[in-house]
């Protein structure tokens, strides 16, 4: 019976651990729903935001819900890439285009 007991104990332990994780996740989600979501919702409301800032590489990924329906290159979310290489290479480096830089406080 020893092995069955050990196995049962392992199963019990890991299911309890999983249950504990799920439960703590619920608790965490509740506190988030109480504090963090309302604050963010307020922020969205005040600034009038429409999209999540997850993918900033192109306008149809930065603002999927606001993207153009159709453009010359069909750059709307879900469109097939115009060139197959698009899935392999990154966006190109545009010559002479502006870049973002900062100036530390107190420096010229």
């Amino acid at each position: 019976m020893q092995r069955s007991l050990a196995f049962g104990a392992y199963l019990l332990f890991s299911s309890l651990l999983l249950a504990l994780l799920l439960y703590s996740g619920r608790q965490q989600a509740d506190t988030v729903a109480e504090h963090y979501f309302p604050a963010n919702r307020q922020l969205v409301k005040q600034l009038g935001l429409t999209d999540l800032s997850i993918w900033s590489e192109a306008r149809y990924t930065r603002h999927p819900s606001q993207a153009d329906l159709f453009t010359a290159f069909q750059d709307y979310p879900g469109a097939f890439d115009h060139f197959p290489a698009g899935s392999i290479i990154g966006p190109g480096c545009l010559q002479g285009s502006p870049s973002l830089s900062f100036q530390k406080r107190g420096q010229p």
Partner: protein
């Protein structure tokens, strides 16, 4: 009942005798479950986040379409829309993009009008001409703080300095990560936008259920516009993450098939020693159904322990270690990717679906091999 327990005991003992083989299967199985579960948990958390946070989005956004793409909208459209019954405030929004060719990031520049303090912002919103507020992602990437200055080159190729007066906190980075806020008047000057036009209009609708009717009316009165309802915004994110997880699951199915082949192979190619063991069991009076039960217990033990372990690993990976391994898959080319601080949104349904996606294939590919082993003749095994 106790007979079944004894068979379980025997199954565990015989598994312990073949540690290496079973360890290999459990390790691969666990990894498979963990990967699948990570995908599910991550996308579900993102879906949940989007659904909850974007509830604050404008009821209706009205864009103008020109030659098939988004164009500036005249401000008199706003007056026309405001006259429709049921419409509250119509706010013209001014925003645009700014590309950094070094970091290859597209920043979003947003004009703000009212200076009342938004939540989750350290410092204050830009008020006078040469001030700005930044998202946390930008501040972290470039290592800047409040008081430093942002250098931008405007549409007339002039270099302009903006003092940073506010930084958004980490908690809002899923929304504000790449955001640069400037006073609206300053942003118009920066992009050289005429005062009579805006990027789009945010329309407040008093009654939520009238949004679609109003959208139709606006479309009818101003045929060159495209109204986007709040529900559509929320749907976009639901489908985006469903699609993402589906695509990843589909790609991942090849790994699942590989795992199935491994399980099939391990179940078919049992050692001579194992065969002899079954032969002896049958010779001392075990029925075929007992041996099948033995195999069932073995499969159950492997499945359950791997499934539980894999799910726990996935949970820790996503919610304690910030989706370190899987993040890049969601990330794509995004350079300024927000740091994940996701809240779990797991329910029994996902655990169920996960079990369906992993345990069933395993069972399906071990059932025939284990039957083959179970019906072996005792004498044929012992004679060989």
């Amino acid at each position: 009942m106790s007979a079944r327990l004894k068979i379980l005991e025997h199954a565990l003992a015989s598994m312990a005798r073949r540690k290496q083989k079973n360890f290999a299967i459990i390790a691969v199985y666990t990894l498979t479950v963990a990967t699948l579960a990570s995908i599910l948990f991550l996308t579900q958390a993102l879906r949940n986040e989007a659904a909850n946070v974007l509830l604050g989005a404008p009821d209706l956004v009205v864009q103008r379409l020109l030659a098939g793409h988004h164009d500036l909208i005249p401000k008199q459209y706003a007056e026309q829309i405001a006259k429709l019954p049921g419409v509250g405030k119509v706010t013209p929004r001014v925003w645009g993009y700014y590309y950094d060719s070094l970091k290859k990031v597209n920043f979003t520049l947003l004009g703000v009008n009212d200076a009342s303090e938004p939540p989750l912002l350290a410092g204050h919103l830009p008020t006078s001409g040469r001030q700005c507020a930044l998202g946390r992602g930008i501040a972290d990437t470039y290592g800047v703080e409040i008081g430093d200055s942002l250098v931008l080159v405007d549409s007339k190729n002039r270099t302009l300095l903006y003092e940073i007066t506010g930084l958004f906190s980490h908690q809002s980075s899923l929304l504000t990560n790449d955001l640069i806020l400037l006073p609206e008047a300053e942003l118009r000057r920066f992009f050289a936008l005429p005062d009579s036009q805006a990027s789009d209009l945010a329309v407040q609708v008093y009654n939520e259920q009238e949004v679609s009717t109003l959208a139709k009316k606006i479309k009818h009165q101003l045929p060159d516009t495209r109204p986007i309802g709040k529900m559509e915004i929320l749907h976009t994110y639901d489908t985006v993450f469903n699609w993402r997880s589906g695509i990843m699951l589909t790609i991942f199915s090849s790994a699942l098939i590989a795992f199935c082949i491994l399980a099939w192979d391990k179940a078919t190619g049992i050692s001579a020693e194992e065969k002899r063991e079954i032969g002896i069991l049958k010779a001392i009076g075990w029925e075929t159904s007992d041996v099948l039960l033995l195999k069932f217990w073995e499969g159950l033990a492997v499945s359950l322990s791997s499934f539980l372990l894999g799910t726990i690993i996935a949970y820790l990976h996503i919610f304690f270690f910030g989706a370190g391994v899987l993040g890049p898959v969601i990330q794509g080319w995004s350079v300024l990717f927000p740091k994940f601080d996701l809240t779990p949104a797991i329910d029994l349904y996902q655990i169920f679906a996960l079990a369906g996606l992993t345990i069933i294939p395993y069972i399906a590919c071990t059932v025939i091999p284990s039957w083959k082993n179970a019906v072996t003749d005792p004498d044929s095994v012992m004679r060989s």
